[in-house]
């Protein structure tokens, strides 16, 4: 039965004599992944699972390497796909985050506006981005404009929602105090509202980036003309190149982890933690 709470962990120091075990314990998480990959490889080498449906790990690597080298003197196909997706992510999330934050501050500081826009946001926010794709394909055609438009809409809503919530949660006394002490409107906005709402805004940035990323990949499945990770995966699936599909998905995971751990956490460190308002 459950081991974890039989002895209260507080009384057990982390290095209680079992030093050797503790030293290799961090390897434990890697073990199942390694076992999984090795089993996969062995099973498909023995033709027990279909290579065309579940590409073996070596096949996946081969496919990605081949994609990288195919037209290499002029360009790397693999890196071009990645660059196309990242460029779209950059532009779309910039538009979405900026307009979402501004919109959130705008409607969050005015009670009437908030009551007007709240129902609209509630109803539009849950619409999945990919459902908007056909509409925007008709309006903007295949390719970048559609993908970026849908991606920025996806990033916009979490930002507007969270920023408005953050701005509304401010203690009115603080705003009044700042006004009494002679702060101008812009000063109040930047020195009172934004730092106060920074935790919320950052939460919105996290959610918005994640949504933007997902949506861009999804829309690339249906609306990309010739580049992008989503296009690469979709193309591989159409021609039943399983290696390309799994490789593309692995790339999606790795790139997103880098973005989240690297970018968002750094941002958090330099803004919210510096101002000392991290909520735990």
């Amino acid at each position: 039965m459950g081991v974890s709470w039989r002895k209260p962990s507080v009384y057990v120091p982390s290095s209680d004599g079992s030093g050797g075990w503790a030293r290799v314990r961090w390897l434990l998480p890697l073990l199942p992944i390694a076992v999984f990959l090795i089993c996969w490889q062995v099973l498909s080498d023995a033709n027990l699972i279909s290579r065309s449906l579940f590409a073996a790990p070596t096949q996946v690597v081969d496919e990605l390497v081949a994609l990288h080298f195919r037209e290499l003197p002029t360009r790397s196909l693999l890196l071009s796909h990645i660059a196309a997706t990242l460029k779209r992510l950059l532009v779309a999330s910039f538009i979405g985050i900026l307009s979402g934050t501004l919109g959130g501050v705008f409607i969050g500081t005015r009670r009437g506006l908030y009551r007007f826009f709240d129902p609209l946001i509630t109803l539009f926010m849950p619409i999945p981005g990919i459902a908007l794709a056909p509409l925007f394909i008709i309006w903007l055609g295949f390719g970048d404009p559609t993908i970026i438009a849908v991606g920025s809409i996806a990033a916009f809503f979490p930002l507007v929602y969270n920023t408005a919530a953050g701005v509304r949660s401010i203690d009115p006394q603080l705003v009044r105090a700042a006004h009494i002490m002679g702060a101008s409107r812009t000063a109040v906005l930047f020195d009172v509202y934004l730092p106060w709402a920074a935790g919320h805004v950052l939460m919105g940035v996290k959610l918005g980036l994640a949504r933007c990323w997902r949506t861009i990949v999804a829309v690339e499945f249906v609306a990309a003309a010739s580049w992008g990770l989503g296009y690469m995966i979709w193309d591989a699936a159409e021609y039943l190149r399983a290696g390309g599909v799994y490789g593309g998905i692995a790339l999606l995971v790795v790139i997103y982890l880098v973005i989240e751990k690297g970018l968002v956490n750094t941002l958090e460190k330099y803004t919210v933690e510096k101002w000392g308002i991290v909520r735990r």
Binding site: V3, L53, A133, W139, A218, V245, G248, I249, L252
Partner: protein, 278 residues
């Protein structure tokens, strides 16, 4: 909890007052849509927006009525979607709670599988669809599996977190009194972690709903479904049908969340009330 307070306030009111309050709320909720719809209609009518492909709201409503009544296909699309959602989501709930509990209770299992789990969580649900298309096929099963995967990870993760945060003293006390196994889960762990589990269920239904729409759009052999309706509308350039589809998706997504949330949260409030009486 805000809902709890609302509930109390509602209970003290006379039925008539309650209806009035509901009406005021509904009016407040619908007013913005009326304003937006009217101004959109006027802008299109007076050709301020000259987009050939942007129909006025009146045309969309006519199309809606057409799809509901004259052609009668909307109900069919929606019921197929809801049928898939029910199967996939229930699977996700069952397995998600089971796996989450297992990972929370067994420390070794958690340390072994957390890395794989957190890796799989960060795969966008929609990215599973191409994999499923080549392994499972182009039909219904792919969509249902996508729905399942969408909900499963959120539910499993939140269940695990919730059970980890259950008061250890209560668990130890229950153990001392000889409670273990399924009974321990049902009478200590589950009530103690219900808030977190419900968060997982809400997140899960959102992800599942999104996976449903995406899966239907991408699976070639699926003929009916609300996502398919939007996707097919592209081939005859009928923007009005797309707007009807988007409307249905957003309203039913919201209703699912609100109805499910309301019901479940009432259950928790009741459970808490029961606990307080003891």
């Amino acid at each position: 909890m805000r809902v709890g307070v609302d509930q109390e306030r509602l209970e003290g009111m006379s039925p008539r007052k309650r209806v009035n309050r509901g009406l005021i709320r509904a009016r407040e909720f619908l007013f913005p849509f009326l304003v937006v719809g009217l101004s959109w209609e006027l802008l299109v009518r007076f050709q301020v927006i000259g987009l050939r492909t942007l129909p006025p709201p009146s045309a969309i409503l006519v199309e809606f009525w057409d799809l509901v009544w004259n052609k009668g296909v909307l109900i069919h699309h929606l019921s197929r979607s809801l049928y898939r959602l029910t199967i996939g989501y229930l699977l996700a709930v069952g397995l998600g709670i089971a796996v989450g509990t297992l990972l929370a209770v067994r420390k070794t299992l958690r340390e072994m599988f957390m890395p794989i789990l957190s890796m799989l969580i960060s795969v966008p649900t929609i990215a599973w669809v191409p994999v499923l298309l080549i392994t499972i096929g182009l039909g219904d099963n792919t969509v249902v599996t996508a729905i399942f995967l969408g909900g499963f990870f959120a539910i499993a993760y939140n269940t695990m977190r919730g059970i980890e945060m259950v008061n250890k003293d209560q668990v130890n006390a229950a153990r001392l009194m000889g409670v273990s196994g399924v009974k321990l889960f049902a009478s200590v762990l589950l009530p103690g972690s219900l808030v977190s589990i419900i968060t997982g269920l809400r997140l899960g239904i959102g992800y599942s709903w999104r996976a449903l729409v995406g899966g239907e759009m991408l699976s070639a052999l699926v003929e009916w479904g609300i996502g398919k309706m939007i996707y097919q509308a592209r081939f005859w350039n009928s923007v009005a049908v797309m707007f009807v589809g988007l409307m249905v998706i957003s309203v039913s997504g919201l209703l699912l969340d609100r109805v499910l949330l309301k019901w479940l949260e009432k259950e928790t409030v009741e459970r808490w009330g029961m606990l307080a009486e003891r």
